[in-house]
Amino acid sequence: MLKNLCQKMFGRSLWVYHANSGGCNGCDIEVLNVLTPYYDVERFGIKLVGSPRHADVMLCQGPAMRATATALRRAYEAMPSPKLVFAIGSCACGGGIWHDSYSVLGPVEKVVPVNYYIPGCPPRPEAIIYGVAVALGIVDKKTAPVEFKQAEFPIPRYHPDELHREKDMIVYERQEKV
């Protein structure tokens, strides 16, 4: 449903505003790399704008810091209403490796509601384009939670009653893997 809504609302050019709330500048460089002639996203109509009031999409980089949380919130509230928020990089997605530092509040979703996550430290320019394509409904997402199990319970018990003597050796009848 969200996908259809996105396609309807953001069917035309997306204007993006990029907000760094205390990242290391790595993700900023990757976002700017997306706008260079090599990964020319302006062919999809994506354009970087300088003010949140012109923007449809906010690209958040860096964790929510104690000092910049209010500014980030105000920038989010200044955007006109059909709006998307992308969390770019592992800092914005989950707090980064300094998640337990005193000045870091945590992931960006603690301050603004996040619609799409693009993990990576920093994510490749292709990954950012892929994230935008997922949001626009051009491609399907590839990730899904994975669960592995090494053994299934109940595990059979060792039964000493099953032992019996056969000629010279003792044979254990139940050949079950424990």
Binding site: C91, G96, P107, Y117, A135, P145, E147, Q150
Partner: protein, 174 residues
């Protein structure tokens, strides 16, 4: 003068040709040493939790459900893809794949959960060597049998701290 410089610029631009990569249509191959999403191989994992100890962003969590099952959970939210877990793994159960297209609308999609079977000694119920064997044997309530389901369940130490001691275990010798 200005015209010449313009012509020179035009020549430079023509020489470069078209550089835009046709990304969403066809992907460019990633560099050979690129570290993408770590993939956990459950069949090789021995449950030593070395990856959990070495993870700088503390993204790999370890739970002991009982003595025989250990759950290893990789959340992947703030993973920096540093590859330390793959370096430290003694069984090479973690490989850094070339997957980078991990964009998702639900952060829980990135997690991987491994349920590892910690095989224990049938006699004493231990996985690893303890500092002192006698110390370990003195522990009460170490094992209990579940006869209905026809299995043994070994209790982990985490549950033993707050529980009242049960009767001493008896080890039958041949």
């Amino acid at each position: 003068m200005s015209l010449f410089s313009k012509i020179e610029e035009t020549l430079v631009c023509l020489k470069a040709g078209r550089v835009t990569l046709p990304y969403p249509a066809e992907a460019r191959p990633v560099p050979e040493k690129f570290r993408g999403r770590p993939i956990f191989d459950a069949s090789k994992c021995i449950g030593c939790a070395g990856c959990a100890n070495n993870c700088p962003s503390r993204e790999i969590l370890v739970f002991d459900v009982c003595q025989e099952i250990r759950i290893l959970k990789y959340l992947g939210r703030r993973c920096t893809y540093c590859g330390r877990c793959a370096d430290v793994c003694p069984e090479k159960a973690i490989t850094m794949s070339h997957e980078f297209e991990n964009a998702t609308n639900n952060i829980g999609d990135l997690q991987q959960k491994l349920e590892i079977f910690m095989s224990t000694c049938q006699r004493c119920g231990r996985c690893f060597d303890e500092p002192s064997v006698m110390e370990k044997l003195k522990m009460t309530g170490y094992r209990f049998d579940e006869l209905e389901n026809d299995r043994w369940v070994f209790r982990s130490r985490a549950y033993l701290e707050n529980e009242p001691p049960e009767g001493d275990i008896k080890i039958e010798l041949d």
